[in-house]
Amino acid sequence: MIQNIPLSYFLVISTMMFFIGIYGFLTRRNLITMLMSVELILNSVNINFVAFNRYLYPQQLQGHFFMLIVIAVAAAEAAVAIAIIINIYRNFKSIDVENVDEMKY
């Protein structure tokens, strides 16, 4: 609990970060930077969990642990994603998302 800092500040930060991450996901053309945007999104969620836990429901550590699991999942996700990206790089000789549109319509 931080003196004089209301919960809403955290929420503003996390929400903005969340949408910045989404913006990045929508506009970055490099697959890895898109993945980074996803990390931003997950990070913002983590902030939410932690802040809620700390401010509102400090008796249990539910948000706390949720955040831990999310980090682990993020790691797993990143691992697989990067493996696939490398595979893409092998196949397409590029990791520009715009090139990955062989299948459409």
């Binding site: 697959l31 993945l35 999104i41 913002s44 699991i69 999942v73 996700e77 697989v80 994603a81 990955v100």
Partner: protein, 475 residues
């Protein structure tokens, strides 16, 4: 909690053991004997499936994080049967030389996703739910990119993993808000505190988009067709059938329990999305020539029908959704099985290749026709019953116009299903695909799905069992 209690988790435990056993066997096998994994795994999984049907106690473990009861068991068994059929159908494909070194990985990844789905279905809180969801998604992305030398496969993988990362991010944001609003991640407490406030609706919408992604509901469906097309065909059928089925199961459970209080709002939303999903799915399916892509869009449209059951909002709705998913699994596996068999042997995947198929491969054609009729909801095959009950449950809640739109959509869907029937039976072809015979296991898989398509409809017992179980959950 003691040892016997932990046995009610037997689906998950056995699968985990199974995955590990496969891994260990694989490590100890010489390279040229790798194909032995296939029969061993099939046998093991068959045992697992059978054991799954043995009666079990309902119960709650881990302080409410894991729960099980007869209905959930039923759902898992349904998934097991589906996976068994997929495994059988994929044997011919697995035996191909190019996959020889990756057989065990295929099984392990498939099993881990199944573990994830089981946990997801059995979850008693959002944490386990989320974990299960991710466990059910991430390995599939790897499976989608399974075939290295095909760019399409890699593309499918990246599209799946990134889209799912985004969607699960949004879903997580929703969960975090739910947590913030209710102070718990456990379903039972959330349910008590869930109120109809804007923020909780917002949280629900974010949560729902994540589920909509898994179910391929419009407008969260766009990944579907590309991934289905690019992924190896058996993975596609897994995605379209098992993954979607599991998502539908958990979604309807959550909708009917945790989020029940905001039903008046989500019903409107479901109405809109159902109409969009059916219509758009159908419109896209109309022009497809690639069979996998075709089935992808058809499965999108089918997902729209599932929403009708959820809209019913009662036991009948729940029963009809589960029953429909069951029927859908068999029907879609029938169709995918045929596409898979043909694609594996001949490499042909477009509708034009199917011209005149009946003259050379009548049995495959018949199975395909029955499966498509079942998907379209034509009697006497099971799809008719599945659709009818879904429509009935929507009608029970008074959504007559929605039912009307849905049946019209079913009519449109019949159009494109008939295109395939036409190709196989009516179109003339100088050189139809030559006659071929798939592996015994594959054929068994095809026969099983064909049997299911026939038996499920007439055998009302199945519906009644589901109904009694659903009744227990909701009352």
């Amino acid at each position: 909690m003691n040892f016997s209690d932990i046995l009610i988790m037997r689906h998950e435990l056995m699968l985990t053991v199974l995955a590990l056993v496969v891994l260990i066997i694989d490590l100890n096998l010489h390279n040229r004997d790798k194909h032995l994994i296939i029969p061993i795994t099939l046998a093991l999984f068959f045992i697992h499936t059978v054991v799954g049907f043995m009666p079990s106690q309902p119960g709650i473990l881990f302080g409410g994080m894991y729960r099980t009861n007869a209905l959930l068991l039923m759902m898992k068994n349904i998934l097991n049967v589906g996976v068994l059929i997929i495994l059988l159908q994929s044997v011919t494909w697995l035996k191909k030389e190019e996959n020889r070194e990756k057989i065990s990985e295929y099984f392990i990844l498939l099993f881990t996703t199944l573990i994830g789905m089981n946990f997801m279905i059995s979850s008693g809180d959002f944490l386990m739910f989320y974990l299960g969801l991710e466990l059910a998604t991430i390995p599939i992305a790897a499976l989608a990119a399974y075939t290295h030398h095909q760019t399409k496969s890699a593309e499918a993988g990246i599209k799946l993993i990134l889209s799912s990362a985004l969607s699960s991010g949004i879903l997580l944001f929703g969960i975090s808000l739910i947590y913030g609003a209710t102070g718990s991640i456990y379903f039972d407490s959330v349910m008590q505190h869930y109120a109809n406030t804007p923020m909780q609706v917002l949280a629900f919408i974010f949560f729902f988009t994540g589920m909509a992604f898994k179910l391929s509901l419009v407008p969260f469906h766009l990944w579907t067709a590309d991934v289905y097309e690019g992924a190896p065909i058996n993975v596609t059928s897994y995605l379209s059938v098992i993954s979607k089925g599991a998502a539908a199961f958990i979604l309807i459970i959550l909708m009917f329990t945790v989020f029940n209080t905001i039903a008046p709002i989500y019903n409107h939303m479901l109405y809109l999305i159902a109409v969009l999903t059916m219509t758009i799915g159908n419109l896209f399916a109309l022009r497809q020539k690639n069979m996998k892509r075709f089935l992808a869009f058809s499965s999108i449209a089918q997902a729209g029908f599932i929403l009708l059951g959820i809209l019913g909002g009662n036991t009948m709705g729940m029963t009809s959704v589960i029953y429909f998913v069951l029927v859908y699994i068999f029907s879609n596996l029938g169709a995918f099985g045929v596409v898979s068999a043909i694609s594996t042997v001949t490499g042909k995947e477009t509708m034009d290749d199917y011209d005149g198929l009946y003259s050379t491969n009548p049995k495959l054609s018949l199975l395909m026709m029955l499966s498509l009729f079942s998907l379209a909801g034509i009697p006497p095959v099971a799809g008719f019953f599945g659709k009818f009950f879904l429509f009935a449950s929507a009608a029970s809640a008074g959504y007559y116009w929605l039912v009307f739109i849905a049946v019209l959509n079913a009519t449109i869907s019949l159009y494109y299903y008939l295109l395939v029937v036409k190709a196989m039976f009516i179109n003339k072809n100088e050189k139809p695909l030559a006659y071929f015979k798939s592996d015994l296991a594959t054929r068994t898989g095809l026969v099983l799905s064909g049997l299911g398509i026939f038996v499920l409809g007439f055998w009302s017992q199945i519906y009644e069992i589901i109904n009694s179980l659903s009744f227990g959950i909701l009352h």
